[in-house]
Symmetry: C2
Subunit: 139 residues, 2 copies
DNA sequence: CGGCATCCTTTACGATACTG
DNA sequence: CAGTATCGTAAAGGATGCCG
């Protein structure tokens, strides 16, 4: 077991399959590549209307925005408030759960900051050789 | 600015676009849903052969496994060692970078463990109402 | 054994048009 | 304004077969 530092428990042998599934679902959801961006904007701007979010998140389509927000709402990450006014008005904001998820991803964020150069270097080195041919270390 | 707690620096206003791109790429990569599983198995078992991994990761196809391992190798997350023997033999193991990425995802992992019930509850509540109709809190 | 190439099915996604 | 519905394209992914 390579790592045994100060973290209380590493879920390696005894891992609840429901947790594992949720982690993968979560990652998968966040990986639709829009969720994280929406989360960020809602973190930064607090409460936002639909069109506001569509404008804040660069290239998102309204279809994807709706889909993303629905999924996030279903998971309890965002709160959706509908005002029954004549021009429709819907506001979205993060729940506590949503904010805590954002914090949970800080580890990944910081990893990316810290190891950006290493990853770029590894990619350059990989691409430099014939990546389609006999790569890696051959013995 | 809604949050200003105890975290040293939140990359919100001054965020390197390369970092942001890497985070999304990273999430996107991990979200292919296989990377995390492969990472786990390599963490648990150390060095593995190709077929071994294919057996360890439940429903993965060899195509996806190859693709996943190539991408991870390119990013410097795994080390690929080819033995030029008569029945071909290829061994994969995590690099330090790969192990550190696994640790970075511990935050998400722990979040999933801690908030599993909340998410399941939120989903049940969402599904209970007509999720296709007038949902959420209407004012 | 490890993997690449091909085919084929499924899915994701964007664009467009329409509704309350 | 904030969606829903339909369509068409594009990409992901599984199955199969061949090669080193």
């Amino acid at each position: 077991m390579p790592q045994a530092e100060k973290i209380s428990f590493d879920p390696h042998p005894p891992v609840d399959p429901r947790v594992e599934m949720l982690v993968n679902e979560l990652i998968g959801r966040v990986a639709d590549k829009w969720t994280l961006l929406v989360l960020e904007e809602l973190e930064d701007h607090g409460t936002c209307r639909f069109t506001e979010l569509a404008r804040l998140v660069p290239g998102i389509s309204q279809k994807m925005l709706t889909q993303t927000l629905r999924a996030m709402e279903r998971d309890g990450l965002v709160h959706r408030q509908v005002f029954a006014v004549v021009p429709p008005k819907v506001e979205y904001c993060l729940t506590d759960l949503g904010r805590s998820l954002g914090e949970a991803f800080c580890g990944v964020w910081h990893w990316a900051e810290a190891h950006l150069c290493e990853v770029e270097g590894a990619r350059a080195a990989f691409d430099a050789r014939g990546e389609g041919s006999k790569s890696s270390s051959v013995i």
